[in-house]
């Protein structure tokens, strides 16, 4: 959304104009959902966090100073909520169990499933990473944000983002090699 329109939309929401908040939600909900899903790896949890994030947006829009873009601000809220939820519910373990189940039902021999299989491996490797490394890899390489935007969302410098990216990607490669060996064996 062009910045000018975005500022107007924020102003309309602040004034309590009917339909404005819904417009804002519909504009950002899918990307926010993807980020939440990337962290949590679970559709129910991602829905819950995304809803919670927009409730926070609704309550805090009066205090949004516009230092960053609205999307970056929403991503930050989603990332923070996801990390808190992840810590609290220890969904990582549950996800591993779920992935194990999926693994049993998947048919790797079917070439049509190659892309799905690749995504499954990537997601599994991503969920093996420590939270910050997962966050930077997810936002930079799956959501396609710049390192600068990722730094703004996670409140750290671009240098820190790159360090976590490097370490995260290296670990992911090790996990991916391991997972592929597992499939071959």
């Amino acid at each position: 959304m062009p910045l000018n329109n975005e500022a107007q939309l924020i102003e309309r929401v602040r004034k309590g104009e009917e339909g404005a908040f819904r417009e804002l939600v519909e504009c950002h909900m899918k990307r926010a959902y993807n980020v939440a899903f990337g962290f949590l790896g679970d559709h129910e949890a991602a829905e819950d966090v995304t809803q919670e994030a927009f409730i926070n947006v609704y309550r805090s829009i009066q205090n949004f100073r516009g230092d960053s873009e609205l999307g970056t601000w929403i991503h930050r809220i989603v990332a923070n909520l996801s990390m808190t939820k992840l810590k609290r519910l220890r969904l990582k373990r549950a996800r591993e169990v779920e992935l194990q189940k999926t693994d049993d039902t998947a048919a790797p021999e079917n070439p049509g499933l190659e892309q799905k299989e690749n995504r499954y491996h990537i997601e599994r490797a991503l969920h093996e990473l420590p939270t910050l490394q997962r966050a930077v890899v997810l936002l930079r390489h799956m959501e396609g944000l710049s390192t600068k935007q990722v730094g703004k969302i996670l409140n750290c410098s671009e240098g820190t983002v790159k360090t976590h990216l490097f370490r995260g990607l290296r670990k992911m490669r090790e996990h991916l090699d391991f997972l592929r060996d597992e499939v071959v064996a």
């Binding site: 602040r14 004034k15 309590g16 104009e17 908040f21 819904r22 939600v25 519909e26 909900m29 899918k30 990307r31 959902y33 993807n34 899903f37 990337g38 559709h43 991602a46 829905e47 995304t50 809803q51 927009f54 409730i55 609704y58 009066q62 205090n63 892309q115 690749n118 995504r119 990537i122 890899v137 390489h141 799956m142 959501e143 396609g144 390192t147 790159k162 990216l165 490097f166 990607l169 290296r170 992911m172 490669r173 991916l176």
Partner: protein, 284 residues
């Protein structure tokens, strides 16, 4: 070139964000060093396998899910608002039931406020009729501000009930029965939390007085929240003198009068300024 330096810049090298000179140096190093070349290959492969633009878990949810997403969200916001309102009302009802003396005090204060409002309305109609008309004609207050003010006045009402309990407490009774005040402390904590939220939200210059009052109240409420679990006479005395010194209850009454009177606050201020002076003259 050192291996560590190459590895430090490997991500930027692949991301093509390095300056030409450094890029050339790393490129040459990768041609000569197997270890760094293997590292580069691994990193490059990993990035290639990332789904990037094609990764869209949101697309796995049916269209109906997204059509109803905002609707569901709005319903949740409404429900949460109603829940917090009903829990506040229940808290107050329970509080007043347990402290019927405070309820009587509160009722008297309300009656006094009603009388004051009646006197002010009558004088206001005589003196400032045109102002009243213009204020009602320009009543296009944004919905958000109206909601914020409603919330602030609701907060003031609840704070007043609590403070009246402390101001009217009989110190002799206190010494005889060491009564639990955990409920009051809990309500104070809730209200103090609201104070800080309101202080941030009240940014309009026209809300300066309301914001100052919320700030003063926050200090008093935190004092109550931090009292010992039983009535402690010296601490309560200190609290009462704080409420008195800052004329908190008077200021709350003034705000109530301003709320009821809308834009025509001048007359109210004039009629109450003499009360304020009297109150200040009574300071110890």
């Amino acid at each position: 070139m050192r291996h560590a330096m190459v590895q430090d810049n490997l991500y930027d090298f692949i991301d093509a964000t390095l300056d030409a000179h450094l890029r050339e140096e790393i490129s040459q190093h990768l041609g000569q060093c197997e270890r760094c070349a293997a590292e580069f290959e691994k990193m490059h492969k990993t990035l290639q396998s990332m789904p990037a633009g094609s990764w869209d878990p949101a697309a796995e949810r049916p269209g109906m899910f997204w059509q109803q997403f905002a609707e569901k969200l709005e319903r949740r916001i409404r429900e949460q608002g109603q829940q917090s309102e009903s829990s506040i009302v229940a808290d107050l009802r329970e509080y007043l039931r347990r402290h019927s003396r405070f309820a009587a005090g509160f009722a008297s204060a309300l009656a006094l406020a009603a009388v004051a409002f009646f006197v002010w309305t009558v004088s206001g109609r005589v003196d400032t009729g045109p102002d009243m008309q213009s204020s009602s004609a320009s009543s296009s207050i944004p919905v958000v501000n109206a909601a914020l003010h409603a919330r602030a006045y609701d907060y003031l009402d609840r704070s007043k009930v609590l403070l009246l309990g402390f101001v009217n407490v009989d110190m002799e009774d206190l010494q005889k029965q060491s009564r639990e005040i955990s409920r009051e402390r809990e309500i104070s904590r809730q209200l103090a939390r609201e104070s800080s939220e309101l202080s941030i939200a009240l940014r309009d210059p026209s809300d300066r007085k309301l914001k100052d009052l919320v700030g003063d109240l926050e200090v008093i409420l935190l004092q109550i929240a931090n009292l010992d679990s039983h009535y402690d006479s010296p601490a309560v005395e200190m609290l009462k003198s704080g409420v008195d010194r800052k004329a908190i209850l008077l200021k709350i009454n003034l705000q109530e009068i301003e709320r009821i009177g809308g834009g025509n606050v001048g007359a109210a201020k004039q009629s109450t300024s003499s009360n304020k002076e009297t109150n200040e003259g009574e300071r110890p």
